[in-house]
Amino acid sequence: MIATLMAAALPPALAEVPMPVLVLAAGILILLLAIACRRSGPGGAGSETGAGTVAAALIAAATLGLAFAGLWSPPPPQAADMARLFAADAWFAYGAGLILLSSGGILAMSWRRMAGERADEAHLLLLLGTLGAIVVAGSANAVAFFVGLEILSLSLLGLIAYRPRLPDALEAAMKYLVLAGTSSAILLFGLALAYAETGDLRFTAPLAANPAEPALATAATLLVLTGLFFKLSAAPFHLWLADVLDGAPIPVAAFIAVVSKIALFVALARYFAMTDLTGTALPAQDLAVVAVLSMVGGNLLAFGQTNLKRLLAGSSIAHIGYLLVALLSAGPFGAGSAAFYLAAYAAATLGAFAALGAVPDHPDLASWRGMFHRRPAVALALSVMLASLAGIPPAVGFFAKAYIVAAGMSAHRMVLLTALIVSSIIGLCYYLNVARVMMTPAPEAAAPAGATLPGTTVLLGALALATLLVGLFPGPLVQRTTGLFLPAAPGGETAARSHDILYAGAPPPRPRLLR
């Protein structure tokens, strides 16, 4: 109801901005003011230690909660299609919901270890990043998208490099800085080309003004795709991910692997909303190649890793590939399966990072030996998450993957499905390997110091429970995710006409005469 009050009190210019964005912006301002007041207060800079952090965490949590509540506020009046900045549709609502929940989860992780006593600014940056992610997820206009993207990556830079005097973090930040700058410049150039071709700033794949020479439009699309793929860390634009996740503190790594990827994927889907991805059009071809590369490459990458953070990086690359398969198999199930998989992926990856956070500073696999004997709860939670990522029942990932396969099957994406199956078999190896390492008894019962913090415990428990429950009863979530997002080309009839070698499908079935 606070949300509605704010909506009433808004100047008309902001009327079409979705409520969560407004709530987040307001929350950020409040938090900024609070921090400023405390800093300039009588105590001086950071004299009182814990209180500030707690207050900041409370404010951030409240903001996230309000924003989440804001998702149910009446949709803002839509401006003309040309001019509007945000598309506050169901797709946005779903993506934003996921983002907010994930941010909440990340907020629940332990920040003290990463940020020392002064985590208040970290919370501020987290809110900022969330804001950027939501803007990205909801943007219908190039301007909004670019602004959101930059907010996201700048706050991420801050977060990665937050911890003082930690060379790894700084190196990660440096890499992210250079590469993110490059990629966003490429993306920006693509947007510019699109604008030059079409003359409007809508955030969609541009249609060539005259179909005779689509070169400019195509180039624009591809450059934008480069930017998006980079942020999604799809192969071959994935190389930064492992290093950055390795260097960044665990909550930040989770933020990168979950929140920003959700946002970017939502944006990617929206970018191609008007494009027919079932056919042999070029962006589809490009996406398919990238999907195959990501699935196989990511899993291979993780296969060779002994560092859990890097392993998770590889697995998240692979999952982006699966998501691309879902996106490419436009049809009755494409978008639904993608949305479902986003949720499963978010929960599992978040949980995995939370489990890592429960045993901090031990990202290498060897130190997790015998974890089932030393910290059974943590080991069990991590196993559930890995099972979900690997697609093993009864975790939700099983159904999610089956759902994607169903979508691809209904769209005759045979080649993609083959790659998916092969790569997920490779994936099984390393997920199972982690589980095995945790099961093998450790030579000496050297339990890592420090018990799990309450926030992480609650988060892990909730996530594991959700993963199992939704895995056993996926019905409601499937219901929720169907019909979120209607692509331009309903797959029913277009699915059949896929003749490109890349999508060589089963022959369209002919009803046979009765025997």
Partner: protein, 618 residues
């Protein structure tokens, strides 16, 4: 009443076996002995009673069907556990239970002092039960139960003294070789079942049901394969000599009297089927003759007394197959009966000797035992005479005569071979007798043969001498008890002696005498050590003409060698290759992340450019 007896007779030994098995070695030996011998004796008594009942008031068709239960009935195929009592099975039952009982009695004495006599008698009684099932069952599949059951018991009993690895190997060999024949037999059953829809013997043998032609030939050939293996005929004869590793009563019961004759019984039982397959008949006769001669030759060169008897068993079974091949079903059964008697007698006498000379089996280490053990000597002599076919006074003479006559009518060449066989038989058994019982003493015997062993010897000696009188050639006296009895099953007795019966008779009578004479000339008792002949021929004969070596070289070795080569299972290499490939790819991708930001940017640029190139290509 009549219908109740056959299952009851089978049940007696079966119950004993079950009790002995379940006792798991806890039963004291005396109790085990009494239980086993008693059960088989009861079975024998019941069989006698059954015979009396059956013969006094025979059923109109001379057959009595006892259906116990349906075994499997699915998809148009119906197999029953059912017994048929008819003259043939009655004769077989008499042999099995009668000789079986005597041998059990004998074994009570022979196995005295053996720690786990219970296991021994469990297997023996189980064998009797299985053998009874074999001869009684009216359904070929049911018969197959007994067929395999006796094989199993033979395996268990050959390897009874498992401590020596050799015994186990012999047992395994026996089972495997016969199992090859069993597989052939099974294929025959499959063929018949596919053609007829069932395996009930009566329906199977209804004239015109199967018809002649290739199908009948094939079926008969497959069944013949089973029979050959079970009865140790060429080319499957290799297992029987090794089977002598078992205790002597086992050799007497299983490897002389009963089990090895199962093949003869099978063919006689299914003779209409074989009549429809002339080629197979001829093959049977020829194989029988070949076996007869080869085995007799080997027997002539053996030094181990039990191996002599083993080869002689093979050779005598050859006579039976010769008879079967020439269509003399009755003669074959006749010889089966007499052979069961005198061969069991010979084995038991040999066992008695072996016990007395501290398990010494080499005849060239024995000698002059006749004086020390006259009773055993007499028994052995009676058995030897019957085996040699001493004219008129022995059972073997009459049964062999019947076969020879039939052979002459079939083909004089077969007759000549058989006659030569008769000569050889007399030769080798006289050799054995002379060397073992006459001449100077080489190993001093100790102890005495106890009553439980002597009684069976005596009984069988009488039978061995007089048992032939139930069936005589017309030239001597027109007595045809056995053939008349068997007529309902095996058809009317074929006219043995149309013309020239007397001449044939004379020839058949002279051959053994000649053999004995020659043997006396060669091995008559003389002072000084005598050694077995050791030229190449003798060695070859002693080795059973090298069948073992050939099989080992051609079949067993290559099979096992290839197996050893492939022990690691070549298919198992494929997953390893895949794993290696995956690891290689992972290493490659790992090397891509060398931490240099410029390289990363380069990949981003490369990807973009590649996409653009992909775009401008079309």
């Amino acid at each position: 009443m009549l219908a109740l007896l056959p299952p009851l007779i089978v049940l007696c030994p079966l119950a004993a076996a079950t009790i002995l098995l379940l006792s798991a070695g806890r039963m004291p030996p005396p109790a085990a002995r009494v239980l086993a011998a008693g059960a088989v004796g009861l079975a024998a008594a019941l069989t006698l009673w059954l015979a009396v009942l059956f013969l006094s008031a025979p059923p109109p068709t001379y057959r009595l069907d006892v259906v116990l239960w349906h075994w499997m009935r699915v998809g148009g195929f119906d197999a029953r556990i059912a017994f048929t009592l008819d003259p043939l099975s009655l004769v077989m039952m008499l042999v099995v239970t009668g000789v079986g009982f005597l041998i059990h009695l004998y074994a009570c004495g022979y196995m005295r002092g053996d720690p786990d006599v219970a296991r021994f008698f469990a297997c023996m009684t189980l064998f009797v039960a299985a053998m009874l099932v074999l001869v009684l069952s009216s359904d070929l599949l049911c018969l197959y139960i007994g067929w395999e059951g006796v094989g199993l018991c033979s395996y268990l009993l050959i390897g009874f003294w498992y401590a020596e690895a050799a015994n186990g190997a012999a047992a395994r060999k026996a089972f495997i070789v016969t199992r090859i024949g069993d597989a052939a037999l099974l294929c025959g059953l499959l063929l018949l079942a596919t053609r007829i829809g069932g395996l009930d013997i009566a329906t199977l043998l209804q004239p015109g049901h199967l018809g002649g032609g290739p199908v009948a030939e094939a079926a008969a050939a497959l069944l013949l394969g089973g029979a050959l293996a079970k009865s140790a005929q060429v080319p499957f004869q290799v297992w029987l000599p090794d089977a002598m590793a078992g205790p002597t009563p086992v050799s007497a019961l299983i490897h002389a009297a009963t089990m090895v004759t199962a093949g003869v019984y099978l063919i006689a039982r299914l003779h209409p089927l074989f009549l429809a397959a002339p080629t197979v008949m001829a093959a049977t006769a020829v194989l029988g003759l070949v076996t007869l001669l080869l085995a007799a030759g080997s027997a002539l060169a053996q030094t181990d007394i039990k191996r002599i008897l083993a080869f002689s068993t093979i050779s005598q079974l050859g006579y039976m197959f010769l008879a079967l091949g020439t269509g003399a079903w009755g003669a074959a059964i006749f010889h089966l009966v007499t052979h069961a008697i005198f061969k069991a007698l010979l084995f038991m006498a040999a066992g008695a000797v072996i016990l007395r000379v501290h398990h010494q089996q080499d005849i060239f280490r024995m000698g002059g035992l006749g004086r020390a053990m006259p009773g055993v000597f007499a028994a052995f002599a009676a058995g030897a005479a019957a085996l040699a076919g001493l004219p008129l006074v022995t059972a073997g003479f009459y049964s062999k005569e019947a076969i020879l006559q039939q052979a002459w009518h079939a083909a004089p060449l077969l007759w000549a071979g058989a006659l030569l066989g008769a000569f050889l038989t007399a030769l080798y058994i006289s050799r054995c007798l002379l060397i073992v019982f006459l001449g100077p003493v080489r190993t001093a015997p100790t102890g005495r043969t106890e009553a439980s062993m002597a009684i069976p010897l005596a009984g069988l000696s009488v039978l061995a001498l007089t048992g032939g009188l139930i069936e005589m050639p017309n030239a001597i006296a027109p007595v045809h008890l056995l053939f008349r009895l068997l007529a309902p099953v095996l058809g009317p007795p074929t006219a043995e002696d149309a013309e020239g019966g007397a001449g044939l008779l004379l020839a058949g009578a002279l051959a053994p005498l000649a053999g004995i004479a020659v043997a006396w000339g060669l091995w008559r008792p003389r002072a000084g050590a005598i050694a077995p002949a050791d030229d190449g021929l003798a060695r070859g004969a002693r080795a059973g003409w090298g069948f073992d070596a050939i099989y080992g070289l051609l079949l067993v070795r290559p099979f096992l060698a290839l197996g050893w080569l492939n022990r690691r299972d070549l298919f198992d290499r494929v997953p390893d290759l895949l794993a290696a490939a995956t690891r290689w790819g992972a290493r490659l991708l790992g090397r891509m992340q060398d931490g240099r930001v410029r390289r990363y940017a380069g990949w981003i640029a490369a990807g973009t450019v590649a996409a653009l190139c992909l775009a401008v290509r079309p």
